[in-house]
């Protein structure tokens, strides 16, 4: 057989070899079929650790307890006890080092998330008392009269 017939074949073989060689360097060592088999488990194993390393921002109310014990205790006696500190005060992240001060959400929208009346029969929402934001002191922050840590009407400021 003449050489010019085989020449394209050599070229193709060369390309295939190059790709296979490049693959050795480009594909991570731990890439392959893992526990869940080829269909569901074909991946880079170390990525599982990458996801575990994501930083925690919401630390939970026990994180606040040691320094802000008075507030932790006072809200525990009110119907607002099941609301996490960070829902209004924002994620603690590494507070007090980072951020040194948290931004409190005092907006009316924040309170209306639960206290806009929606009497949906099969939802817990119907059991929460609400106000009409159009008529109930519009343009005023709720916390100017109501203490969110002591929300009953006796706790009015």
């Amino acid at each position: 057989m003449k050489n010019h017939v085989l020449r394209p074949l050599y070229a193709v073989l060369m390309i295939v070899t190059l790709i296979l060689a490049a693959r050795i360097f480009l594909v991570p060592k731990d890439f392959g079929i893992q526990e869940r088999g080829y269909m569901y488990g074909w991946h880079r194993k170390s990525n599982e650790e990458d996801w575990k390393k994501v930083s925690v921002k919401y630390q939970g109310k026990e994180y606040c307890k040691d320094c802000h014990g008075a507030n932790y205790d006072s809200i525990a006696k009110t119907p607002h006890k099941n609301i996490q500190c960070e829902n209004c005060h924002g994620p603690a992240i590494e507070h007090p080092s980072d951020p040194p001060k948290l931004t409190i959400d005092r907006s009316r929208q924040q309170c209306l998330r639960c206290h806009f009346p929606l009497p949906y029969p099969t939802s817990g929402r119907s059991k929460i008392r609400g106000i009409d934001p159009e008529t109930h002191n519009p343009d005023m922050e709720c916390s100017m009269c109501h203490n969110p840590h002591h929300p009953s009407l006796e706790g009015m400021r």
Binding site: F31, I33, Q34, E35, R36, G37, M39, Y40, G41, W42, H43, R44, N47, E48, D50, W51, K52, K53, V54, S55, V56, K57, Y58, G60, N82, I83, Q84, E86, N87, G90, P91, Q109, L112, R113, C114, F116, L118, P119, Y120, P121, T122, S123, G124, R125, I128, P133
Partner: protein
């Protein structure tokens, strides 16, 4: 020439061969065996339980999720969201989820999209409720099957993760998910999805949405542990999953799921 004896012999061999199940020829796969051993060892399979009666649509879960998992706050994309369903007495069926309920539901107007709203009078409500949604971490995840590069996969504990460094952004998984859980991350430009706060649950914490929920509407548990309170509820009470007809075996279980919920 085929004699009668030959014919009978060959028939017996053929029938005997055909009767052997295919599995008899399968060689033991050491990887599969190791996987079974590993699965026995970990004994963890994360599952979610949502009580739609308890959900009040405050949206704290969505807010916490977006901040915890660094999904840009103003982008109209979120890993978890809350839907509102309203059926009126005059036979209308309405559903909305403005901004994924990031700011909760603070109006009785239903968001119809494109700036249109429909006011529903309180005395016209026949049935209404909120349904939180998140990734179902399916046992047979179709989003993983379609990934051409092995960037999305199921971890041994059942959580489906995305390898951001390996994802090419083709979007097949976003289309394959029957629950519409996946989206493009506006910053990383890769497929993004709820991973049950993998960095939290692997440290023994709860997910950000579970912690943020004031009403206990969301719970996470290990379905392999028979003493887990979540597992007990799933085993003994009436729960349902979304779109079971797809055969994806979703692992987010709902109490009080209604037929209208899709």
């Amino acid at each position: 020439m085929t004699t009668r004896r030959d014919f009978i012999k060959k028939t017996i061999i053929t029938v005997a061969g055909a009767a052997l199940p295919l599995t008899a020829f399968e060689l033991l796969d050491p990887k599969k065996l190791f996987a079974q051993v590993a699965a026995e060892k970990t004994r963890v399979r994360w599952a979610f339980l949502i009580d739609t009666y308890k959900c009040v649509g405050c949206g704290y879960c969505v807010k916490a999720c977006k901040l915890e998992n660094e999904v840009p706050y103003e982008a109209n994309a979120t890993r978890t969201w809350v839907e509102r369903y309203v059926l009126t007495k005059d036979g209308k069926f309405l559903a909305d989820s403005p901004k994924g309920a990031r700011d909760g539901y603070t109006t009785s107007k239903i968001d119809l999209g494109l700036g249109n709203y429909e006011e529903v009078k309180n005395n016209n409500i026949e049935k209404a409720y909120f349904v939180p949604k998140l990734c179902n971490q399916c046992e047979n995840p179709p989003c993983v099957q379609v990934c051409p590069v092995g960037a999305t996969y199921q971890a041994p504990d059942g959580v489906v993760l995305v390898d951001r460094s390996w994802c090419i952004g083709c979007g097949y998984c976003i289309m394959a998910c029957p629950y519409g859980v996946r989206f493009f991350h506006p910053v990383h430009h890769t497929a993004e999805k709820c991973n049950y706060c993998y960095h939290r649950i692997t440290k023994g914490m709860k997910t950000a949405c579970v912690d943020a929920c004031p009403f206990g509407a969301r719970q996470i548990g290990n379905i392999k542990d028979p003493n887990d309170p979540v597992t007990k509820i799933i085993r003994t009470q009436r729960v349902a999953v979304l779109k079971s007809e797809y055969g994806t075996k979703p692992q987010a279980f709902y109490i009080g799921l209604d037929e209208e919920v899709r």
